[in-house]
């Protein structure tokens, strides 16, 4: 086996290349150690919320006994952002309490991330360090706070995708790679995009049949969200204002480059963990630079494709904030189908985070091999935590768990008993502050809670600008309200039969005045449900064929890979086989 000067397997001319194994295959010990490190990290982060209800934070909305609605299936014509991730979570919530499902998924992020990263580096010290470096990052903290849990599941799956891609490149079976790509697809469009692009970078263009096969399979297992997006009337329009609004921004004193390099830089300043704007950012930068200087070389030797993906993800993350590149990105987001996935570029940093984590692992492994430098290995291993203490304890106490008050479930029951008709979520606005859930900003839970098509504002209001949503009916309501039209007439013309008002929110008093005199179906301290008698406008119908085609196609492709008995069809050819040697 050839070894590079760092003592790490280089991936060229070694046993592993012929067998598809090597340190990648002999993961015994490192995976469980990484899982344990990830578990400890996850417990440190999630301890204040475990067993205490559901966590509601910005876009993270879980509801008890979630109904399987057209939005979750992608059949109602809405943008399929939650497909199929929420469907899978909702199905789990059919057999487990929703809080257990949510907390299990969040904890799984840390365990999977730790185990996956640990398996990609040689030696136990390196494995522990890589696990901690990957599970404990500003990226995890910021995406957890903003509630992008599907991204985090994709983040956790990425090292497994990379490991399987490396094995396939060395002649191993393609099946693990395809299964992990399916897992990434289950984590939603962004996760699938990151995983597929990274996997393709790792396996390389040659042989072209393998590249095309992986790409084709990835497309097939992503049909659950691709089909609804393609079939959506009017496509998925993207407001160009969103490119600047959701561009990465500096969340440290190190500027944009330093913030991204230290794996932070989320666009939303409200979701930056405590300490990022302090001198601790310098500690993070030292940790990253030390990892790259001491440990990047073996990562580059083993997988130049992964390093390229990491560099590319850094570039894409910065693009929205770099003059010149932002115009290109805006054109892609607005004009290229699916280009909207590149908006909020910082979410694409996952491959860069993995490169840094693996480099940290190699660096720690290198330092740990010599007794004189062992203390430095320990220090480098724990630097991610020292640089970001704000991730601990519910991201500095900013994650809180709560139980839905009884009247929310009573409102749902009242809607379920009412004659058919669409519901509007009021007051007209996308976000709420729930006093029973820590008064934190959270996406209105009503559309998720109700087993009815629910019309809700889908614009994204920011301090300086409002980014338009994609629902044309919601846009008509917004325009009508701005023009001073009567709310009941406006809602009826949009096809709405019932109005559910969340009291105690900005604008709720005016909303209640506008609906005064209408038949009240339910009323509590927090909630009001009224009926809007009279004829209503047309509503778009559900299209079950979208789910049949999307979910059915994906399941068929996945099933074909799982039950395939002839391994040869799913095995990458080794270099010797390709050359006929």
């Amino acid at each position: 086996m050839s070894r590079d000067p760092l003592g790490a397997a280089t991936g060229r001319g070694r046993v592993g290349a012929a067998t598809g194994r090597g340190w990648l295959g002999a993961a015994a010990g490192r995976g469980p150690l990484g899982a344990a490190v990830g578990l400890v990290a996850g417990l440190l982060v999630l301890a204040p919320v475990l067993g205490r209800g559901v966590v509601l934070s910005y876009d993270m909305v879980f509801v008890p006994d979630p109904p399987i609605t057209g939005s979750v299936l992608g059949t109602d014509g809405s943008v399929p952002r939650a497909v199929p991730t929420e469907l899978l979570a909702d199905l789990l919530a059919r057999v487990l309490p929703v809080a257990a499902v949510q907390q299990g998924l969040l904890l799984a992020v840390f365990v999977l991330a730790g185990a996956g990263a640990a398996r990609l580096v040689p030696g136990l010290p390196a494995a522990a360090a890589a696990a901690l470096a990957y599970a404990w990052t500003p990226y995890v903290a910021e995406r957890l706070l903003i509630g992008h849990w599907p991204f985090l599941l994709g983040y956790a799956v990425l090292p497994w995708v990379v490991g399987a891609a490396l094995a396939a490149r060395r002649g191993g079976s393609l099946r693990p790679l395809l299964l992990w790509l399916a897992a990434a697809a289950a984590a939603g469009s962004t996760s699938a995009l990151i995983a597929t692009a990274t996997a393709l970078c790792v396996i390389g263009l040659r042989p072209a049949s393998r590249f095309a096969g992986v790409l084709g399979f990835a497309a097939a297992v992503n049909l659950p969200w691709i089909v609804p997006a393609l079939a959506r009337p009017g496509g998925v329009p993207a407001d160009p204002a969103g490119v600047a609004a959701f561009a990465a921004r500096s969340d440290t004193p190190l500027g944009l480059a330093g913030s991204l390099l230290t794996l932070g830089g989320v666009w939303n300043p409200a979701t930056v963990p405590y300490g990022r704007d302090s001198a601790l950012a310098t500690v993070a930068l030292v940790a990253v630079l030390a990892a790259l200087v001491l440990g990047l070389r073996p990562v580059l030797a083993d997988s130049p494709g992964l390093v390229a993906a990491g560099a590319g993800s850094l570039l894409l993350a910065a693009a929205g904030a770099v003059p010149g590149l932002d115009a290109v990105l805006r054109a892609v987001v607005v004009h290229v189908p699916g280009g909207g996935l590149l908006r909020d570029g910082q979410k694409l940093l996952a491959p860069a985070a993995l490169v840094v984590a693996l480099a940290a692992g190699h660096a720690v492994g290198r330092l740990a091999r010599a007794p004189r430098t062992a203390p430095w290995a320990v220090l480098l291993a724990v630097l991610p935590v020292l640089a970001l203490p704000g991730l601990a304890w519910g991201v500095g106490g900013r994650l809180a768990a709560a139980h839905y008050p009884a009247d929310w479930l009573e409102l749902r029951a009242a809607v379920a008993q009412a004659p058919p008709g669409e519901v509007a979520a009021l007051p007209w606005g996308t976000y709420r502050r729930l006093d029973w859930a820590g008064d934190r900003v959270v996406l209105d839970p009503l559309p998720r809670l109700l087993d009815r098509r629910t019309l809700a504002d889908d614009a994204l209001p920011l301090s300086r600008v409002t980014v338009r949503g994609e629902d044309p009916r919601a846009a008509r309501v917004s325009a009508g309200l701005a023009a001073g039209e009567r709310l009941p007439d406006l809602l009826r013309s949009a096809g709405v039969r019932y109005a559910a008002v969340h009291r105690g929110q900005p604008g709720s008093a005016a909303t209640e005045r506008a609906l005064a005199g209408l038949p009240v179906l339910f009323s509590s301290r927090d909630l009001l449900l009224v009926e809007l008698p009279g004829p209503t406008g047309p509503t778009p119908g559900d299209r079950p064929w979208v789910a049949v085609l999307g979910l059915g196609g994906a399941v068929l492709c996945l099933g074909a890979v799982i039950v395939r008995r002839r391994p040869g069809l799913l095995r990458s050819r080794t270099p010797d086989e390709r050359t006929g040697a």
């Binding site: 070894r3 003592g7 490190v37 400890v40 990290a41 440190l44 910005y58 030696g123 136990l124 010290p125 522990a128 360090a129 901690l132 939303n268 300043p269 409200a270 405590y274 300490g275 720690v364 290198r366 740990a368 091999r369 010599a370 007794p371 062992a374 203390p375 290995a377 320990v378 220090l379 291993a381 724990v382 935590v385 020292l386 970001l388 203490p389 704000g390 991730l391 601990a392 304890w393 500095g396 106490g397 900013r398 606005g429 996308t430 976000y431 709420r432 502050r433 006093d435 008064d439 934190r440 900003v441 994204l460 209001p461 920011l462 301090s463 105690g504 929110q505 900005p506 604008g507």
Partner: protein, 60 residues
């Protein structure tokens, strides 16, 4: 000439691993303490407003 990993015996690696894990736990506890301090100081300055303003995506 032996490579570095050959010179480092299994017992050394075990000690290094234990040191790493102990340091990780200590580091985690330190981080936890620092977080609690940060939270307690931050909670004093971020009390929810009495009159709720328009809720935007980028509010704390």
């Amino acid at each position: 000439m032996l490579s570095d990993d050959r010179r480092t015996g299994a017992s050394d690696r075990g000690q290094i691993l234990i040191s790493t894990l102990v340091a990780a736990v200590v580091g985690g506890l330190l981080a936890l303490g620092a977080s609690l301090v940060l939270v307690s100081s931050a909670s004093n300055t971020n009390a929810p407003p009495v009159n709720k303003p328009l809720i935007t995506y980028d509010q704390k």
